[in-house]
């Protein structure tokens, strides 16, 4: 699970923030959001801090400022709870759809009991996310 929380999620965030590549000319892609948009998202996260029920765990930290210090648990709640509604209308719909496959897969993986159906679904969802990544995100590297 730390593969999802500590690797994939931060890398995707870096893609969207435009800090994934060392070569800054590569970072300007259709899926990168501007700093202004990110500070908007961060402000939104700060605003909802007080209205989050305790059931959801710790209240979210501002991802724009604190994404370097995020713990695995915070990444987990960022993936499953906050990312999709906060990125909606900001990220182009193709990328949001690709990301949503991953979100759904992680949600299934967090279940304590998995049926065979769930397992097959995780496989297909992760494959879909992988294909999306190869097709839309990775293509710009070459």
């Amino acid at each position: 699970m730390h593969l999802f929380y500590e690797n994939v999620a931060p890398y995707m965030l870096r893609h969207w923030m435009g800090s994934f590549f060392k070569d800054s000319t590569l970072n300007n892609q259709p899926y990168t959001l501007s700093n202004k948009q990110w500070s908007e998202i961060g402000a939104n996260m700060d605003a909802i801090k007080k209205s989050i029920p305790t059931e959801f765990g710790r209240p979210p930290r501002n991802i724009f400022h604190h994404h370097n210090g995020y713990k695995a648990e915070e990444w987990a709640s960022w993936i499953t709870l906050y990312s999709v509604p906060l990125l909606k209308d900001k990220l182009p719909s193709v990328y949001l759809k690709g990301w949503s496959f991953f979100v759904k897969a992680v949600r299934l993986c967090q279940k304590r009991k998995l049926s065979l159906h769930d397992q097959n679904e995780i496989r297909s969802l992760l494959l879909q996310f992988y294909n999306h990544y190869e097709r839309y995100v990775r293509i710009f590297i070459n």
Partner: protein
């Protein structure tokens, strides 16, 4: 491309062979590391220090099997006992409910009144001593 994006293709195989993610995830290991970290205090011999500290901690954990020594070090806390008329408690309920109470000295005239009131109900009350009368009243 980062290798981790390839790894996600193997997640479902891993689930098939090892069970749900919560059985094999990293969280318990991280927690153990968090416990071990403050135990290594020496900078010169951190591993020696860590081993000694873990050994000491384990000794403490096993202390409960030596009852005599355990009771010497951790004397058992006596259970508080309350009088029945002051505290209400239930077997299935951990908390105790205390009646609101206050000491109050009756005046002589009040005692007389109580006595006369009770004597209407029960003839014996008039002959009773003061303390008995009051306990009956409570």
């Amino acid at each position: 491309m980062k290798a981790c994006f390839h790894y996600i293709l193997h997640v479902s195989d891993s689930i098939q062979s090892n069970g749900p993610c919560c059985c094999t995830w990293q969280f318990p290991m991280e927690r153990t590391c968090g416990m071990l970290q403050p135990l290594a205090k020496s900078r010169l011999h951190p591993y020696k220090n860590l081993t000694n500290n873990v050994y000491l901690l384990e000794l403490f954990n096993n202390l409960c099997y030596y009852r005599k020594i355990h009771e010497q070090i951790f004397p058992p806390i006596p259970r508080k006992e309350y009088e029945n008329h002051l505290v209400y408690s239930n077997e299935n309920y951990e908390e105790e409910f205390q009646w609101p109470s206050k000491t109050y000295d009756l005046k002589k005239s009040e005692i007389k009144e109580i006595k006369s009131h009770l004597s209407v109900i029960d003839n014996k009350a008039a002959e009773m001593k003061l303390s008995v009368c009051i306990r009956l009243f409570i």
